[in-house]
Amino acid sequence: MFGDPIYRDGVDWGDVALMGFKVLLAFVFLLVATMFMVWFERKVVGDMQNRIGPNVAGPWGLLQTFADGVKFFFKEDLKPANSDPLIFRLAPYLSAVTAFVAFAIVPVGGVFREGEIDTGTVTLFGKETYLQVADPPIGILLLLAVSSIAVYGVMLAGWASGSKYPLLGSVRASAQAISYEAALGLSVVAVVLLAGTLSTHGIVAEQAGGLRSWFWLATGVVPFGVFLIAATAELNRPPFDLVEAEQELVGGFHTEYSSIRFALFFLAEFMNVITMSAIMVTLFFGGPAGPIFFGLDWLWPTVWFFAKVLVFLFVFVWFRATLPRLRYDQLMHLGWKVLIPMMLGWLLVFAAIRQHRLDNVDTAVAIVVGLVLAIGATALLMAAFSAGDRAYERENTIKDEVGG
């Protein structure tokens, strides 16, 4: 069956109320989680750099973010004279709202069992439903659509500020986001090919049935690695945080922002980290799947889900604490010349393997043909790269001779 079982027998007011409850729950959860994510990041980075980190507000500094938030509210809201008033106000909301929306498609709980037709449902207030805000037929495409809208927040913020550093920062940000969206989308394609559905719920259901049902080889190595790198770039997190490279751009696209508008950008950034971690768990690590030990059946999947998300949150913080920032040309090189060709090649090989299983071709033949094709494609690509490099060098030497 397709879609949330709650809609199967028409929609009454109870269903609407339940949906409202789910939306509210997701909203509050994301806000609170963001609060603790900021604390977590500061604390872990502090530990990794042999510092103490926030420790004054509340026990272990837990309330530090809350205090910062309150402070942001009472700060003066500056607006540069050169700015575009309407767009300057609009941009932070574009960032923050899109950060919330993408989380809607993540299944955060429900017992998924292998081979069951209607798996992964929970009963809330006497109604059977999925534990996710929405399960649209387009599923994971919603993430890509939303992340393409999120570009607008950063881009408009930089432009509307009416000064050059924010504009440069936002130009970098949008170029980076567009470049890495391609790699992100391609790595999602591998998962969708394997699961045979776009629906996030369907993807999790395909992976139900323990560790052996996770797509270890097919998507666990190359697509997952590409997704992780592309997601980090998409989030503008270190080592890809050229958007706000302090040494080069003052503060990047939000240089001119202050008070609660700045806080909204901050909120969006950390919220996107949480959402991306949740999406990664959903696509590659079985979502809420995990062993159920004792007692409350419905509680364990949610616990597993959050445990897995926490691992990725730590990974993102770890990246920040250890990796130096890339140069801009290195960033573009990695995105266009490494990640995208790698993912395209993997998709070709992967699609060929899927097809030979459907057509009952001999496995050995398929592997040999696949390898030959892969090597040929790589050789072509390398030839193209070296031709490009030679052309670039030739151009530069001519320029040097003319200039010198």
């Binding site: 397709f2 050169n82 575009d84 767009i87 649209p136 037929p137 387009i138 495409l141 919603l142 890509l144 659509a145 393409s148 809208i149 570009v151 607008y152 881009m155 408009l156 432009w159 009416g162 000064s163 504009l167 936002s170 130009v171 949008s174 170029a175 567009i178 969206e181 776009l198």
Partner: protein
């Protein structure tokens, strides 16, 4: 049905107002943003027609790629502020005439073709998967031709941009 009609009214109004504002505003970045609003409300209309896949494609391609590049160019080439007095061309009556004729022809064609159709009592549910099946079976040649055309345009753009 009533809820759908109300939603259609709201979205259609937003679309029409944004479209008018897009051609009347003097700020070129604002014009681009109104165009984004028009495209987004068209996407909303597709959702209203339960064509989620078309709606997502609209968002991904038009709003996520085309308009971003558009804004990109405008922001980098225009002075901060984006205010342009010469944005309204002197030949606007001609453009208005062409637009009116086009709108009239489209309306007439639609009414002539579908004007007397009625929604069936048991509508066929057409899912995203069905769209995929159709593209890769019935319309495969058209799809591949469009892909090759786009690839050619892409390579052509790079060749043109590099020859400076």
């Amino acid at each position: 049905m009533i809820a759908q009609n109300i939603a259609f009214g709201i979205i259609a109004t937003v679309t029409a107002v944004s479209a008018v504002l897009m051609v009347t505003t003097r700020n070129v970045v604002h014009a681009a943003l109104y165009l984004v609003a028009v495209l987004a409300s068209l996407g909303a209309l597709y959702v209203l027609l339960t064509a989620e896949f078309v709606a997502t494609t609209q968002f991904l391609v038009y709003i996520g790629a085309v308009m971003v590049l558009f804004l990109f160019g405008v922001m980098l080439t225009r002075a901060p502020g984006g205010e342009t007095q010469s944005l309204t061309a002197t030949s606007w009556p001609v453009a208005f005439g062409v637009a009116a004729i086009l709108a009239g022809a489209l309306t007439w064609a639609l009414l002539d073709q579908f004007g007397s159709d009625e929604l069936s009592e048991n509508p066929v549910v057409f899912r995203t998967a069905d769209v995929g099946d159709e593209i890769f079976s019935t319309y495969l040649i058209a799809f591949e031709a469009a892909s090759v055309l786009l690839l050619a345009a892409l390579i052509g753009a790079i060749v043109l941009a590099r020859k400076d």
